[in-house]
């Protein structure tokens, strides 16, 4: 276990090696929030739409943008790079669990983002726009939903990485998954504005956990938060099974075909 904490720690420290990036990220986050807030201001104004107020939407934008910082789908970039350079073989030579190592590494990256990007962005947003605070009973499910967002995004990213063992490139997959996440996670448009067909489709996919679910729970817009969390846990288990199966096959392929 110590080794994974060490990986997480080093990965966190590594974030500090490029200082200017910290400022640029906060700026990028703020631009994203500002654009969304402007859009909702002009769309909703001072009226209400389906029981959703402007303050709801500002809060929603801040939360989804912050949740995006927590996502670990980028784990495939790390594997993609290692597959192409052949570094994967040196990584596999270490007496550690490779998936756990990657998770620890990503956790360090996310930890760094939270401290140096997300928290400052939220503070600035509170000062600039003001956000809604959650009702007490929603706090615990909200935190659990954040964990789910991290784990599901990691598993999805890892799944892409594993598929790339066969295709040896992630470009097309990356394109697809980014599109799927930006629409079906509800990061840009909340699911309650979707028409029934799309809303139903979206609720059967895991992507909603990467944006919509945490934000909606925070705002108290989910009737049975624990039920949706349970479903999310189901997704985690399902994805874990697929990923394990694929990992086993990918390793077999790697060791037979060579890196």
């Amino acid at each position: 276990m110590k080794v994974y904490i060490a990986f997480c720690n080093k990965s966190f420290i590594r974030g500090l090696s490029y200082r200017s990036e910290v400022w640029l990220r906060i700026l990028g986050n703020m631009v994203l929030i500002f654009i969304q807030v402007s859009i909702w201001k002009s769309l909703i104004g001072n009226s209400e739409s389906n029981g959703i107020t402007l303050l709801n939407m500002i809060t929603y934008s801040v939360i989804t943008t912050s949740v995006m910082n927590l996502l670990m789908t980028r784990v495939f970039l790390s594997i993609d790079h290692k597959l192409k350079s052949g570094d994967i073989s040196t990584d596999l030579q270490k007496p550690i669990s490779y998936p756990l190592y990657l998770f620890a590494e990503q956790l360090g990256v996310v930890g760094f983002q939270v401290v140096f990007t997300t928290i400052p962005s939220i503070c600035i947003s509170i000062l600039l726009f003001g956000i809604q605070y959650p009702d007490a009973p929603n706090i615990v499910p909200f935190i659990i939903s954040l964990l789910l967002a991290m784990i599901i995004s990691y598993l999805l990213g890892y799944l892409i990485a594993l598929i790339s063992f066969w295709f040896l490139t992630t470009f097309a997959l990356n394109w697809t998954i980014t599109a799927l996440i930006s629409i079906f996670s509800g990061s840009l448009i909340p699911l309650w504005f979707f028409n029934p067909f799309w809303a139903n489709l979206t609720s059967t996919l895991p992507f909603q956990y990467l944006g919509f679910v945490p934000s909606a729970i925070y705002l108290g817009k989910v009737e049975h938060p624990y039920y949706i969390i349970l479903e999310g846990v189901g997704w985690v288990i399902g994805l874990l099974l697929i990923v394990n199966l694929l990992w086993w096959r990918a390793i077999k392929r790697l060791v037979i075909q060579g890196g």
Binding site: K2, V3, A6, F7, K10, I13, R14, S17, Y18, S85, G86, D87, S89, T90, L92, Q93, K94, P95, I96, L254, V255, I256, Q257, G258, G259
Partner: protein
């Protein structure tokens, strides 16, 4: 004690057949034809504790494939393979604790972090005790002169410094064998010298077996006692450098004698004239048992002693020997199997 034992090891790669041209490229997309080629073809050898082996061969001879199989990241097509009494590809993580690996063209160090951070991670990966870790670090810093850059980020190191750090990292968990794939590639003369001296040291003093592939034959000459030459997947020579010299007839010594004035035709016992520029004559001593003293005696025996200005005796360099081996190989003459 045997630490590596391989017997009739074969590794076959299957690659999709490629077609040339635009239509060929399209055909490649759908074709299911394969081309098989043997990167390693029935190679057998045994490596004992504390051995130092140079694994040589032209590009594409299957050297890296061999290292990958020995370290357990490639499964052989057929044949037996044992490292530290275990089958590498079945016990990848167990084997990893007993071996160290350095790839000259790859890095195991964390690029953006100080060198010491990568060492610290290795301490956790290999569960090295704090005491062992401290004493190892102290030892390597001393031996490899790493004090100046231990706290610098890896991206700021020179290649020579980085390679020293890579080797120290690979040795941190006290492996019984160290695999090196072209460790001196791209280094300057001084850096190469330091790396070689260090590798020689840990091999002789710490009894760590060294398995090295390289294209720089000086590496082999200075580090390895035994060489294995492979070509097109097959082992063509396995033995001591002296044996190779005997086998290829490259034990012969060459003597260049420079005269003040041309002495004309001149015979030297046991030697053959190979070039004659008048005042400068080159001879080759053919008998393998003739040492430097014998050569001197023969030269003392020639006439016109007073006309001799200078004498130089040279041995064939390892580069020449291997060159000769490779040329022979291309003419399909096998020295020994």
């Amino acid at each position: 004690m045997e630490i590596i034992k391989i017997n009739k090891l074969v590794k076959e790669y299957r690659t999709n057949k490629r077609y040339t041209g635009t239509f060929g490229a399209l055909k490649t997309l759908f074709s299911k034809e394969y081309i098989c080629n043997k990167a390693v073809d029935e190679i057998s050898f045994v490596i004992n504790e504390g051995d130092s082996i140079g694994y040589l061969g032209p590009n594409g001879a299957g050297k890296s494939t061999m290292i990958k199989m020995l370290t357990g990241i490639l499964v052989p097509t057929s044949g037996d393979i044992q490292v530290n009494g275990m089958i590498p590809y079945k016990n990848r993580k167990e084997i990893a604790k007993k071996i160290g690996v350095v790839f000259g063209q790859r890095s195991q160090l964390w690029w953006d972090l100080p060198v010491i951070d990568s060492f610290e991670l290795h301490k956790y990966i290999y569960k090295i005790s704090e005491y062992d870790y401290r004493s190892k670090i102290e030892e390597f810093v001393e031996l490899m002169d790493m004090k100046d850059f231990l706290n610098k980020p890896v991206r700021q190191l020179s290649l020579g410094q980085r390679m020293r750090a890579e080797i120290a990292l690979a040795l941190l968990h006290s492996p019984t064998i160290l695999f090196l794939d072209e460790p001196t590639i791209g280094l300057d003369v001084l850096a190469k010298h330091n790396i070689r001296k260090f590798l020689r040291n840990i091999n002789k003093q710490k009894n760590v077996a060294v398995f090295l592939t390289t294209h720089d034959l000086k590496d082999i000459e200075e580090i390895c006692d035994r060489i294995i030459i492979v070509n097109q997947g097959k082992s063509v020579f396995d033995g001591h450098i002296l044996q190779l010299k005997k086998d290829t007839g490259t034990m012969n010594k060459r003597v260049t004698i420079e005269f003040y004035t041309d002495p004309g035709q001149l015979q030297i016992s046991n030697a053959k004239l190979i070039s004659d520029e008048g005042v400068r004559k080159k001879y080759e001593f053919i008998h393998t048992d003739i040492q430097g003293a014998g050569v001197m005696k023969s030269i003392m025996g020639i006439k016109h002693q007073d006309k001799i200005k200078d004498i130089s005796i040279e041995e064939m360099s390892i580069e020449e020997i291997i060159h000769k081996v490779f040329v022979n190989l291309n003419q399909n003459i096998e020295i020994r199997v």
